[in-house]
Amino acid sequence: MENSVRIKIGLASCGIAAGGLDVLEKVENFLKEHDVDAQLDHTGCIGMCYAEVLMEIEDDEFGSTMYGYLNAADIDDILNAHFVEKKPLTEHIVFSDKLGGKEKEILDYQTRIVLRNCGVIDPESIDEYIERSGYEALQKVLKDMSPVDVIEEIKESGLRGRGGAGFPTGLKWQSAYNNYADKKYVICNADEGDPGAFMDRSVLEGDPHSVLEGMLIAAYAIGADTGYIYCRAEYPLAVKRLRIAIEKAKEKGFLGSNIMGSDFNFDLTVYEGAGAFVCGEETALMCSIEGKRGMPTLRPPYPAESGLWGKPTNINNVETYSNVAWIIRNGAKKYAEFGTEKSKGTKVFALTGKIKNGGLVEVPMGMTLRDVIYKVGGGIIEDRKFKAVQLGGPSGGCIPESLLDTPVDYDSLTKTGAIMGSGGMVVMDDTTCMVDMARFFLNFTQDESCGKCTFCRIGTKRMLEILNRITQGKGEQGDIEILEDLSHKIIKGSLCGLGQTAPNPVLTTIKYFRDEYEAHINDKTCPAGVCKDLIKYLIIEDKCIGCGACKRACPVDAITGEKKEIYTINQDICTKCGACMTACKFDAVKKL
């Protein structure tokens, strides 16, 4: 018999990193000691990463209650209050059905299609996925729809590729379908390489079957019988859960031969990437599956004509596939109700940086950046001043405050010089230096360039050198112009998306924050106080009470002075680590 009490603990990578396993152990012990009859489950990412560790209790008495910001030490008190005294500790509640909770509205702003099961089901249980209408779409497709019907449905839904560029998914499937061949492949791009993005990881860890079902439907539509999921090796938990999902799907007969009694066959393998950002590019990814160096090739021919081992191949990313089953089940029209004219549906963002409620959010397309950041994200940490939001990782750009009312859709974001990208959204406040940010991304792309195209290989290197000089206070007149010139040449002279978009972070920061570049070059100052060579720490004599906390904190003995006297920092020894500033309780250390 089903237990009427159910406890779910969020155990995706971030939940585990925040101490989820310790919480789990405490809960297990409590249930045993107090003889509470409850079903204890693991679930995937609940999305409110800022409030990890999260635990949801479902019972008759209080409905659903989500406890957050947990650590193992609180568990006994919380469970005791909930189950024994029947007076839940409201200060630990994030939101609940009956007990209020301060953060319910964060979820109210969201529309969960891709994340429909994340944090709800146990990702290792296929039955829980099936219970929530899982594999119904596959059944519908196999029974009642021809491949052409499926493709038309996806076209009508307006779904566009969620990997970044936003190519219409239905058209992609159509062209793979049109190319006749004895063998075709379906690939899922799960090589989520953008630093600052974890949407795909969360879906794979929290709801792997939705990706499998999407791939199965794509395979049926284009006529493929073999599939690969190319997943980053840096995501060990995602790989593990995918393998479990594939095993279980095979046992149920959703994978293999004569699926659900039809003549449709499909086999699926997880392929672990070996760490190369460029493999997120589809032609490079296929080279990698073939066992070669992951270097992009010229398109055309597109993968739909000649892809993996020269055969027609359809390749989409994780988020795209996990939309598919929902669309088939609920209909294209229903899906197209969400979003704008040209960007339908929802988009998942990994909201991070200087934001209060960082985590995974799914919003309808067309919501403004301001609403995503202030309503869903709760605004800036410590209510500091918003400076920019970075979208699209190393291929994207920084959007300033003046453009915060830009709606989240492919075309509007491209107009700003940034891109939708795969969904990384990093919020920055006035303590972030935009030149340093540009340097950070260039450092990344320069390192990850595969080296095939000269402009990408050498151009990014030269740009990085210039940016390094500027942040070290050795910038020269004309540097900005050289950066712009190199940028345009790299965009024109590179074969794949990596090179063509690598200059975006530099171009957008020059466009919107040119004054910061000029301050670094002309005045040799870093307005945000980040670039080490351009700042120094000083002790304000009026405020120093001579406690010596700064001296004790200094790792390089750069601070001299005696108790009850004013301390001084020796600038020649100081490494500008800022430890003194953190240690001082009297605000007597300032950064210039």
Binding site: A18, Y50, G193, P195, A197, G275, A276, G291, K292, G294
Partner: protein, 152 residues
Amino acid sequence: MLESDFDKIDAVLHEFEGRKGSLIPILQKTQAQLGFLSKEAMEYISGKTKIPVSEIYGVATFYTQFRMHPIGKNIIRICHGTACHVADATKISEALYEELKVEPGGTTKNLKFTVEEVACLGCCSLAPVIMINDKAYGRLTPSKIKDILAQY
């Protein structure tokens, strides 16, 4: 290489026999067994699979996952993704290098730790983050580093 190391590679090769495009998984499994890819190991794989050793070396050096040198017992990955960068991950790296007396990418003298900087571990909301083996540590400050290392 030891006799038993060759046996381990043989077992890996056997698993992928007849499957096309298996070079990367073969190298991954070999590395998992032996800790790193030695010149000898790559030459042995080349001899058995008839893939030129130049191609194997080319693949092995292209991907960041593959190592050509012995590594420490524990691998520390310091996340330098965007969110961690904004959250001052550099200070975490510096504290680690200072504590362990190693260079970026280096291994401690007692072969206990190898420290690598990686692009993103995907735990952005817990930034800054490091991962030791398969365990992630989030919301770090430089002062927490010592205690964490002491657990290993």
